[in-house]
């Protein structure tokens, strides 16, 4: 046993059944499930592995669905541990496959597949090679690469830069500086997220609020990228620049609201499924 377990553990945890009293070889033989022979005289106690959560981790999960999920997990883990303690089960020595040949063969197969796909595409569909760029003429459309459209879109927040009456209708900062500051704000918010929520939830239904925030952020990344190419959008779709600007900020809110509503609605069904599976697995006595 590791030092994590205390005496209070035994009193608070629900006893599963009579296998918790492993003293006496008859009880041990009754629960032995691994087919091994009763050779060890010390009961074959296997220490709790380091996968088990610490007590501080346990106390953090105190409420709601995460608590329920956690209780199920903890009870099944406890039952496994009791079974192990009661039997002469010995953990295997081999914890992983060797690098050669097992892992290497698999990796070589995957690598060969992707290299083959690249060769095939490079040979069958060769990329277009345009003529050399003319350094003396500016192209009609100047854009960064597509993955930087969101940042480029944040430079086009001119309507959000307030004209202050205090300054006689002047703007506090120029639109260009305002756009750069907007980039800093967005990046700062993204950098803060890991400190606000460490992400204990395994599924979106467990944390609908944070999941909705994520959905809103993803949708905003797309809409702000669309704002960056608003001239192309206006040429392709029947939407004006003002409407596009409004949609850029409204659509993320709508998407976040919808995601929150859907996930909140799914919670009950999820808890029902969890309960049903659990009690089918371990019927109440």
């Amino acid at each position: 046993m590791s030092g994590k377990r205390t005496d209070t553990d035994d009193s608070t945890e629900p006893r599963t059944d009579d296998i918790s009293e492993p003293e006496g070889s008859e009880a041990r033989r009754a629960v032995r499930t691994d087919g091994g022979s009763d050779t060890r005289s010390d009961g074959g106690i296997v220490p709790q592995d380091d996968q088990a959560p610490t007590w501080s981790e346990r106390k953090q999960r105190t409420q709601g669905l995460s608590r329920l999920t956690y209780e199920y997990f903890e009870r099944s883990r406890r039952e496994d541990e009791d079974l192990r303690r009661a039997s002469d089960y010995v953990e295997r020595d081999v914890l992983a496959f060797p690098t050669w040949p097992h892992e290497m063969i698999r990796n070589l197969a995957i690598t060969s597949f992707f290299i083959g796909a690249m060769f095939f595409l490079a040979a069958a569909v060769p990329p277009h090679l345009p003529g050399p760029a003319n350094a003396n003429s500016t192209p009609a459309v100047i854009l960064p690469d597509w993955y930087l459209y969101w940042s480029f879109g944040l430079l086009k927040l001119t309507p959000l830069n307030p004209e202050l009456a205090l300054l006689g209708g002047e703007k506090l900062v120029s639109d260009r500086v305002y756009g750069v500051v907007a980039n800093l704000v967005v990046v700062s918010i993204i950098a803060m997220v890991p400190f606000l929520n460490k992400g204990a939830a395994r599924r979106p239904v467990e944390e609908p609020g944070w999941a909705a925030l994520g959905v809103g952020g993803v949708v905003f990344a797309f809409t702000i990228a669309a704002l960056a190419v608003k001239n192309l959008i206006a040429a392709t779709f029947p939407i004006g620049n003002h409407e596009l600007f409004d949609v850029t900020f409204l659509l993320p809110l709508v998407a976040a609201f919808l995601a929150y509503a859907v996930l909140k609605t799914m919670r009950e069904g999820y808890m029902f499924e969890l309960n049903r599976r659990y009690f089918r697995l371990r019927p109440p006595k």
């Binding site: 095939f120 595409l121 069958a124 569909v125 277009h128």
Partner: protein, 90 residues
């Protein structure tokens, strides 16, 4: 469930690669013009005709394969599980 997703995904990517290759050969005007979905050539030779046929085949293979593995089979299984649960409850 994950197996069904992988099968549908393999059909989508494998069939899509064949479709994309033939489309790049035969139904692409130019880099600046319409790509992949332009009109096929007026008088294709025998090989081009066969390739265009293969393009149609892969199109429907991808559509039906993805529909079957991502929608059809899961829906069928959900329905069957639902009906079996219903029968078990009664």
């Amino acid at each position: 469930m994950a197996d069904e997703f992988a099968k549908g995904f393999a059909i989508l990517t494998g069939g899509g690669m064949v479709w994309m290759t033939i489309s790049a050969w035969l139904t692409t005007e130019s880099f600046e013009g319409t790509q992949l979905i332009a009109r096929p050539p007026e008088d294709p030779g025998t090989y081009a005709q066969f390739a265009l046929l293969l393009r149609d085949v892969t199109t429907w293979f991808v559509i039906f394969g993805v529909f079957a593995f991502w929608i059809g089979i899961p829906v069928f299984r959900e329905l069957r599980a639902y009906l079996e649960d219903d029968a078990g409850a009664r």
